[in-house]
Assembly symmetry: C2
Homo-oligomer: 267 residues x 2
């Protein structure tokens, strides 16, 4: 029941996952990271043994949880001579579980759908986790561990998971990039970023009860050519941003015209 | 003290503003909208006289609050023969207050920085309002009315306001568009949009304590070429989205490389 877990990685995801697992009483026995600073930081924070030496990774653990950049997994796998037939798990949205198939019969995926930043506290209970595994026994273990830390566990194969990851890039990474552009524009004009925070909060809160496709506001969805023209003028000195503004505005205009043609749009 | 206010417009902003003003005891005496349905809907909801006939707009009110599409303001102005020298106000981010200068000596702007959707309840108290006016007396009135409905009132001229509006387009309109792309991708793969809502919420919540430039996560900021390549493949059947994905990813990569070169970036 209480398997020995080695965590490979000490980045954002590994850090939050390690803390949540330990909090729920799991036996995390070692942390490996290529960077000794990261390994030490997480090791000390959690009171767990740590190393940055591939050769020192325990070979007799029950579970290895890989939370490293996608290309690093295979390289690390080659360097561990597993004594048992351990359960190998990764946390990546876009990698097949089969990356493990030459190293054990027992493997799976535990993909937490969230944006992790080391310094920010997060309640893992609210984070959806998508899981799959190579056999029913492994799935049972991945499910038990996931359900221990989160209230929303979904069984989902790679065919769907890659699209979920892609959707997350738009909804989270690209969204945050839009925030950072807003921040830069405001900084340049000496406007406090605080003024725009209620707007950002409400934009995200809206989608709780409204489909984003219905919640679209702004000059592009109104096809307000005057404002769009003015905004492009303001971005004259930054051709990259001007191009991005034009491209996204045109996409919104195109999409809203399509909707008007497809449906009897009320309101 | 209790000026008679005519509201021109019955769209998203006008609707929320009318409700907030009436709630705070302001004397809203008439609502005009080009569309009789919209005028009636808001008129009935608020118990205020309404019309869609330009000739019926009261000519003797103290304040006219224009919340119509930017190009409509001038056309409507020409059709009202004001008896007094009323206070003319608009609510637009990107229009100068001077649009009113041929019609009265008293005019100004009351720009609420928020995304409004008719059916959604919003607490106006949390909404930042940016104001300016043609003279100190008018500014006093705009300030009093704004402070009555909101706790954050900023005096801000057009030079800054246009950039704030531009920043809002990125932070709100473009962000919501990113949500709608995620929704579409998930719909096509039969994945419930609910799974991604905690991620969207956390992405917005993060900026309360972290600069978005520091909060960036995802394949692009890691310059994870394998995942980016896979995602582009998944978007093969939708060249527009593929182009958008590539463009935004490249911008994030470029920006993060610039930061690495500019500063000693400590994680």
């Amino acid at each position: 029941m209480n398997e020995k877990i080695v965590i490979i990685g000490a980045g954002n995801v590994a850090t939050h996952l390690a803390k949540a697992l330990i909090k729920e009483g799991n036996d995390v026995c070692q942390i490996y990271s290529r960077s000794i600073e990261s390994a030490r930081e997480l090791g000390i924070k959690t009171g767990v043994n740590y190393t940055n030496n591939l050769e020192e990774i325990y070979s007799n653990a029950d579970i290895y949880l890989f939370s490293v950049s996608d290309s690093a997994i295979e390289q690390i796998l080659k360097n561990i001579s597993f004594e048992k037939n351990p359960l190998l798990i990764h946390t990546a949205g876009s990698i097949s579980k089969d990356i493990f198939k030459d190293y054990s019969n027992n493997y799976g995926v535990l993909y937490p759908l969230q944006t992790f930043t080391k310094k920010r506290l997060i309640d893992f209970r609210d984070i959806p986790i998508c899981i799959e595994a190579s056999n029913p026994e492994s799935l049972e273990i991945v499910k038990r561990i996931s359900s221990g830390i989160s209230e929303s566990v979904y069984i989902m194969g790679i065919e769907k998971r890659v699209y979920l990851h892609l959707a997350a890039v738009f909804a989270c990474n690209f969204t945050n990039y839009m925030y950072s552009i807003a921040e830069k524009i405001m900084q340049q004009k000496d406007i406090s970023f605080d003024i725009i925070k209620p707007l950002i909060k409400e934009t995200a809160a809206k989608i709780e009860d409204l489909s984003p496709a219905k919640a679209q506001t702004g000059p592009a969805v109104r096809n307000d050519k005057e404002v769009i023209f003015k905004h492009k003028e303001l971005l004259e000195s930054n051709p990259d941003l001007q191009k991005l503004y034009t491209f996204v505005s045109n996409s919104i205009i195109k999409q809203s015209l399509r909707e008007i043609n497809n449906t009897d749009k009320t309101e």
